[in-house]
Symmetry: C2
């Protein structure tokens, strides 16, 4: 079973957290929620789904985990002003371990400067940001490029969860 | 007195609309609110400030206005998926008329691909996006570069409003 890190804060897209999280837990994987402040409860932007943050990025190491999940919504925009979260995401991408990202999640990888030469998809508002970061934007429900598994929106969730689950042992 | 176009939709940062709008109206300028759908009322993300959208971008021309105001919050992220809004913003920047932008507003100029070689500021989450777009990010309360007047956040509003007001006749 895998240890999955989830980087998350307020205004995440509820379903983009809740559905992968439920599927991963059902398969026996263990989730650790990493955010801007340990012990607080953050909430989704549409349904107010509550998520308890276990630790800050400063308190964890990439070596503690097997995979990373980054839900979308406006959570990535808030997370990418935190240097420790950005460092953690950068080290995760560099480690070669699976990184599952959906919707606005590529914003964190742009700030971490790890997208050059990669193939990725994401929410349509980010197309130019992704291209400007040196990545190739591909408009399909799941894009897999090495350790990066990406999807565009909640409509892609079934395919996204299938693709991510295949990467977890 | 000037005719000021405001591009705006739901989840705008309340104060970044309300304070410049009040100052411009007090000075006798006329505001036209341009959004994704005419006749609807959009709301701010913190205080729910209501703003009635007058027209879509398709229904207006840059020649109808003297200046453009783009409030921040998550409104620019929602607006930049609309091709007509992006075209309107691009034509406004190209026209040389004043464009006042604050917080997340540079996102619209990134999608419009008009930032190359420009000096600009904006919300700190956008630093890498702005650099990747070929602009120089400057961390100060107001940055003026030709017709672009930009600020970072609500804390910069007094200086932002002063700088914008000077550009309106």
């Amino acid at each position: 079973m895998s240890k999955v890190a989830v980087v998350i804060t307020d205004m995440f897209e509820d379903s983009e957290y809740a559905q992968p999280a439920a599927a991963f837990k059902k398969a026996g994987h263990e989730l650790t929620h990493i955010g801007l402040q340990g012990g607080v409860t953050v909430k989704g932007k549409k349904e107010g789904t509550p998520v308890k943050v276990d630790k800050t990025a400063q308190e964890v190491r990439v070596g503690d985990f097997d995979a990373l999940l980054i839900p979308g919504g406006y959570s990535p925009d808030k997370l990418r002003v935190d240097e420790q979260v950005v460092r953690f995401v950068k080290e995760f991408v560099d480690s070669g371990k699976p990184v599952c990202l959906i919707c606005h999640a590529p914003q964190l990888l742009i700030t971490a400067q790890v997208l050059k030469g990669r193939k990725i998809t994401g929410w349509k508002s980010l197309v130019q940001d992704i291209k400007n970061a040196g990545a190739e934007f591909i408009d399909q429900e799941v894009v897999e490029d090495g350790n990066l598994i990406s999807s565009r929106s909640p409509a892609d969730l079934p395919a996204f969860i299938r693709a991510c689950a295949q990467k977890l042992k």
